[in-house]
């Protein structure tokens, strides 16, 4: 129905324009009415975000349930994921999340060690990948390799143990050429954010609506 589609497109654009403009203008208006309205908008933002979390949980459950019912490859992992989700929700809602609760026990003894383990595996894969892929095939690659070695040594006490020059060189690399590149990236991101924000507020950029 074209009329309904039009409403679905127009209303979000109007809402976005009004609130985008309001948040922009209120920054420069210290009047108590402006601050009060601003606080209300911030409350709304948090409430909306909680509902998006709920949408995420439902979407996760639906997606996994579909894979399990169709017994797709790796459906066992989906089942474990769903059981984990259900167990944590049940434990949290029935017995709370505070000190000495089963929820906290599960978090400390199952979730946190598993996540830390996954993160720790990076060290092994980085070492393996560096051994296989980090080759001084050209002058630029050689320079990158040398810089990486200096920074790796300079960021641990071993570098200081070998020579004071190493941490000094590592700090110079991080605070001068590396920071210059980072600044350039941040300036680019900042300008891009401003232009995209303006495009969204003015209704030029509409991809967030999720349809053409």
């Amino acid at each position: 129905m074209p009329q309904e589609t039009n409403m679905q497109r127009t209303i979000p654009i109007i809402v976005c324009f009004i609130f985008g403009l309001f948040m922009l203008v209120q920054f420069f208006v210290p009047h108590h009415a402006s601050i009060s309205a601003y606080q209300t908008v911030l409350d709304w933002m948090q409430i909306i975000f909680v509902f998006t979390l709920l949408v995420g949980v439902i979407s996760y459950a639906k997606l996994n349930a579909k894979k399990i019912t169709r017994t797709q490859t790796g459906w066992g992992y989906n089942l474990i994921g769903l059981i984990g989700l259900a167990v944590m929700i049940i434990l949290g809602l029935s017995m709370g999340t505070g000190e000495k609760t089963p929820f906290l026990w599960m978090f400390n003894n199952v979730q946190a060690p598993m996540q830390s383990t996954m993160f720790s595996l990076l060290a092994f894969f980085v070492a393996s990948a560096a051994y296989r892929g980090f080759r001084a095939r050209s002058w630029e690659a050689g320079l990158l390799l040398a810089v990486a070695i200096v920074v790796m040594l300079g960021r641990v006490p071993l570098g200081n143990f070998i020579s004071h020059w190493i941490p000094d060189a590592a700090n110079w690399i991080l605070r001068t050429p590396s920071m210059a590149a980072k600044r350039g990236i941040y300036i680019g991101i900042g300008l891009g954010t401003i232009s995209t924000s303006l495009r969204i507020i003015l209704g030029i950029e509409r991809t967030y609506l999720g349809r053409k």
């Binding site: 975000f49 560096a130 071993l158 920071m179």
Partner: protein
């Protein structure tokens, strides 16, 4: 060299220095010293807000930093307000804060408080600039903030001397954008080593007062407060592990040129 052998070498290079102490000398960097000085110069009774903006995966790196900073705060008799802007930081933050507070025998509600988690961090950071009680009407234990002595004197950032973001992602950037730029808050950051370099431009611009980067940052801070902990213990392992990776890279290149 097989992948299995590389994995074994890395595992040994981490495990052995954790058992056999090498005691390699460490030096305090200026960005860590800046955090120390920022906290050290605060008057007794000043309020420090510590935000646990991280997930459980980075706990081995995050915990030593958070502990070292909190030990300094409690030792200086500062008041600490803890909170989390990422869900997983909630339980971790509460436990680190409680355990460290217990070491110093300080009282919950009088000397420190944990507010819990709030979603939508932009709104939470901005909202606390106006009224913390509006963002967190109750603490983590569901006690209304109006009944908590420490919170009676704290309305918003004006009553807070320093914000410390203990983060494993880019949350400190949001603190800069919304708390530093808009409310002129002082911000110090304790972050994972992999994220530390991202924040040097903010450090250089003065938007961050200081920075603790990973286990090294924790080790340096432990040296400053003269309380050795997990940071200093982990530095030997990290040193040997870095050396092992460098040796592997050199070996890989030697093999490459010999084949060539």
């Amino acid at each position: 060299m097989s992948r299995q052998l590389i994995f074994i070498l890395i595992a040994l290079s981490v495990a052995i220095p954790l058992v056999i102490k090498l005691g390699l000398p460490n030096e305090v960097t200026s960005e860590v010293m800046a955090v120390y000085e920022e906290i050290d110069q605060l008057d007794s009774g000043s309020v420090v807000l510590v935000s646990f903006d991280h997930e459980a995966s980075s706990l081995p790196e995050i915990k030593p930093m958070a502990q070292a900073v909190l030990r300094h705060c409690f030792n200086r008799k500062l008041k600490v307000v803890g909170l989390a802007l990422l869900a997983e930081g909630t339980a971790i933050g509460e436990q680190i804060l409680r355990q460290t507070a217990d070491e110093y025998g300080v009282d919950y509600g009088e000397d420190y408080v944990f507010l819990g988690f709030r979603p939508q961090y932009q709104a939470a950071i901005l909202g606390m600039g106006e009224d913390i009680k509006r963002v967190f009407p109750e603490d983590y234990k569901n006690i209304p903030l109006t009944q908590i002595p420490i919170m009676r004197k704290i309305r918003n950032y004006e009553n807070i001397s320093l914000v410390i973001s203990v983060a494993d992602g880019d949350m400190p950037v949001w603190w800069v954008d919304y708390a530093v730029s808009r409310y002129h808050m002082k911000l110090a950051v304790a972050t994972t080593a992999v994220m530390a370099t991202s924040f040097y431009p903010f450090l250089s611009a003065g938007q961050m007062k200081g920075l603790l980067g990973g286990l090294k940052g924790a080790a340096e801070y432990e040296m400053l407060i003269k309380k050795p902990g997990m940071g200093q213990r982990g530095m030997d392992a990290q040193s040997v592990c870095h050396l092992m990776i460098i040796l592997l890279v050199i070996a890989g290149n030697v093999g490459y040129y010999l084949k060539k």
